[in-house]
Point group: C2
Chain length 189, copies 2
């Protein structure tokens, strides 16, 4: 019955909740270690600094979304369904955060707190670029003659805008609306 959980894992779980709920800057080292039920030195044995933990937090959120997206992708047959799987994975990811009090995209929120040169901002920018690239790929498969770049950017704006609004009023109806809008956009190409 060895239910032993490594300190690193406990720290990442605690950081995930606290960083998302209270913000990166407002969450101190002591709060994280206390919430993880772990000694302070266990944090510095596993991470070089708080920024390093923040970076790991962002990478974990990115990977978390990747998993949800690939799950949705597995059940998608057509390029159109694959494109919509991106929106569905956003809804799925939002629902993961409901227990913590939904506050929008954890990556975007964290990026808003990070200084301009910070490495974490690159992680966030990368994910948004990746989503836009996915839209381009699927659009190209759907309608090779369409204005791919413009439409992909349009879809990215709709998705991220819905997430921003959802973060403010605290429900994911916005994300489902974004999905409906995306359908109308791709279906009238």
């Amino acid at each position: 019955m060895s239910e032993r959980v490594p300190a690193r894992e406990r720290l990442l779980k605690a950081a995930a909740e606290l960083f998302y709920r209270d913000g990166v800057g407002a969450t101190g080292i002591d709060t994280i270690t206390a919430h993880a039920g772990v000694a302070k030195m266990s944090l510095y044995n596993n991470f070089a600094s708080k920024s390093d933990l923040v970076k790991a937090y962002l990478d974990a959120r990115l990977e978390e979304w990747h998993v949800l997206y690939r799950e949705r992708l597995a059940t998608a047959a057509t390029p159109r369904e694959k494109l919509l799987a991106v929106f569905d994975s956003y809804v799925d990811h939002a629902e993961l955060a409901y227990g913590w009090g939904f506050r929008g995209c954890g990556l975007l929120n964290a990026a808003a707190e990070l200084p301009v040169g910070d490495a974490g901002r690159a992680t966030v920018a990368f994910q948004k670029e990746e989503v836009e690239q996915l839209f381009k790929d699927y659009l190209r498969q759907m309608k090779p003659a369409a204005a791919i770049d413009e439409t992909a950017e349009h879809l990215s704006f709709v998705l991220e805008g819905a997430m921003a609004r959802a973060g403010l009023d605290g429900h994911d109806g916005r994300l489902k609306a974004a999905r409906r809008i995306a359908i109308s956009i791709v279906d009238q190409l």
Copy 2:
């Protein structure tokens, strides 16, 4: 040559720059007063607390956008032009922040740092609701038979999504793209 500027005004100007550039949480009281060239007590003579100053900062940004929007509105003749004036005022507002290092919408960034119950979040949510309502009004004047609510939400997503993306890659080309997208949306209603 009385170039005397009241302490309150100097504080708001310093707070505007520092809160936007470095974030609300990362900016301390002493930094603000030093940057304003003002005594610490002048802050507490004019504002009840730091949160009060943050609230004033948000209100000032909201009013700042209102001014820019009304300026654009004055040169708009048709409902279509008035609707686009919203997008233009966003570009104008973004350009105000260029000297500080553009980091996206100051209201959205600050809201990402504020706790869920904070009064400042209401200010931010209000501004986004207001924009969506403006879209509804102008759309109704343009095409009374169109799907007003859905289209207004669509336009809001495009605008706020463009702002979110712009905040990550640091230029307002995204906002100009959003304007072009908005034109295509309203012109094919």
